[in-house]
């Protein structure tokens, strides 16, 4: 019973780390998915005194995906009240050129600012309309949420790592008699501490499996998927194989490193 209690403590601590890590990954995925949606509908308009070759515009920054010139006909059509055909043609010639530019990703405010500066380095460009005021509020909220999740995950990681170290120290104390006897007969460190590593790795595997089950449930939960689709996000919450292997790797590595630290700090009892 006591042994199960000890295992539960370590499994729960590892689960907390894995859970917060996976939440961080999901948040990141949600933001990426949302950014992709936004980037499809987002464009920058550049006004130029003279014609600029499309490739020259694309060369300005690697974020730029495509360029299309906006036809002035529609604007002129609105003004077409009593203006002669010859004058309209003259007007067309004097109007600046408008270019609609699509981006590869949905930019952050800092990226937009940087991009604007780069456009204005071209002397032909007289105005850049980035529609920054229309930057999506949901996107801003998602970025804020991501930052909060990051801080929260780091806090959980620190606290639970300390708990794991404490738990492993208890284990070491429980097994210290055996380890000391083995040491008296010249057992190398890896053999003496084998039990500690076995227990830590076993608990890491158990914690990963439990988190796998939890996120498999989440990934098929209608409520969660509905919450995402409400803000225009469609994403896979959990990739069973990739995510499980990733979480298992993190759990096993962390448990092994912490067990090794405990073993290295152990002194022989005289």
């Amino acid at each position: 019973m006591k042994s199960i209690k000890n295992h539960i403590s370590l499994v729960i601590a590892l689960m907390s780390i894995l859970f917060s890590l996976q939440i961080f990954v999901i948040t990141d995925r949600a933001i990426d998915s949302y950014k992709e949606n936004l980037s499809k509908n987002y464009s920058v308009v550049v006004v130029s005194k003279k014609i600029i070759h499309e490739q020259d515009i694309l060369n300005i920054d690697s974020l730029l995906k495509s360029v299309s010139e906006l036809a002035p006909d529609e604007v002129i059509a609105r003004l077409n009240t009593g203006i002669g055909k010859k004058n309209i043609e003259l007007l067309k010639l004097t109007l600046p050129k408008f270019y609609k530019i699509k981006l590869k990703i949905y930019p952050t405010p800092a990226e937009i600012e940087k991009l604007t500066q780069k456009f204005l380095l071209n002397k032909s460009i007289i105005k850049v309309e980035t529609f920054t005021n229309n930057l999506d509020n949901i996107y801003k909220l998602l970025l804020l949420f991501k930052n909060i999740v990051t801080v929260f995950s780091i806090s959980i990681f620190i606290v639970t790592t300390l708990l794991i170290i404490k738990e492993l120290r208890i284990w070491q104390f429980q097994h210290s008699e055996r380890m000391n006897i083995m040491r008296l007969f010249g057992a190398p460190s890896w053999l003496r501490s084998g039990i500690l590593f076995r227990l830590a790795i076993t608990d890491a595997i158990i914690a990963s499996i439990l988190i796998f089950i939890i996120f498999i449930y989440f990934s098929s939960s209608k409520w969660i998927l509905h919450e995402f689709s409400d803000i225009g996000i469609t994403l896979t919450v959990f990739y069973p194989l990739n995510d499980f292997l990733y979480l298992l790797g993190v759990a096993v590595t962390l448990a092994t490193i912490l067990a090794a630290l405990i073993v290295m700090g152990h002194k022989e009892e005289v």
Partner: protein, 223 residues
């Protein structure tokens, strides 16, 4: 004759204030049987601890099996310990392991083949007359039987040196006699050096032995 242990001006202590063994000089020949006696607290067990490297010398030099223990590295100390068998008054058996696995411990550490290990354990269990107790855990045995298991463990890997700390301190006559016979056998048949810390030297000793007495931090050979 080769010396298995050489101590020069050896001083041992647990703290700076108190010296347990003070500038002792002695040597022990390979294959000899040695008793170390002394009153309680005289430093017998402390000396034994220093011989298996659990207590470092405060000053002086201590060479065991050709290894200088002052400033010895962990890997070298582990190597030396793999060639030493130790018997403690409180047995120091691993309670979660069966008696066979306890006896196997030095063989596992020394990397013996499983077949050799199993044969050796069976033979030793017969030797210590515990073959009928196979599969049992230490707590299921009496004190005397547990000490016989510890004795079998100390002999299992044919060590160059056996260190025994009051091995018959709490035992009945039958187990005590068996332990003394096994220790004598180790010296006569296997040419193993045996060092025994005890309060009393048994009168039934059939072989020649050396006797050191510890008093007031001094180690003197008794003729």
């Amino acid at each position: 004759m080769d010396k298995v242990i050489i101590a020069n001006n050896l001083s041992l202590s647990y703290s700076d204030n108190e010296v347990i063994i003070n500038k002792a000089n002695f040597s022990i020949n390979t294959g000899s049987f040695v008793f170390i006696t002394g009153a309680s607290g005289s430093g017998k067990s402390t000396l034994l601890k220093s011989l298996y490297g659990s207590l470092k010398a405060k000053s002086g030099s201590l060479v065991v099996g050709g290894v200088e223990l002052k400033g010895v590295s962990t890997s070298k100390l582990n190597f030396l310990r793999r060639h030493i068998g130790i018997v403690f008054q409180d047995y120091k058996l691993i309670k979660e392991w069966t008696i066979e696995k306890n006896i196997m411990l030095p063989l596992i550490i020394n990397g013996y083949d499983k077949t050799v290990t199993n044969t050796q354990v069976e033979s030793l269990l017969k030797h210590v007359r515990l073959n009928h107790q196979m599969g049992k855990f230490p707590k299921e045995l009496s004190g005397g039987e547990q000490q016989r298991v510890a004795m079998a463990r100390a002999l299992s890997h044919n060590p160059i040196l056996i260190l025994a700390d009051e091995p018959t301190g709490n035992l009945d006559d039958y187990s005590s006699e068996l332990i003394w016979n096994l220790l004598e056998g180790a010296t006569t048949q296997l040419k193993t050096t045996v060092i025994v810390v005890t309060h009393h030297i048994p009168e039934t000793m059939k072989i020649d032995y050396k006797h050191f007495h510890i008093e007031y931090g001094r180690i003197d050979e008794v003729n």
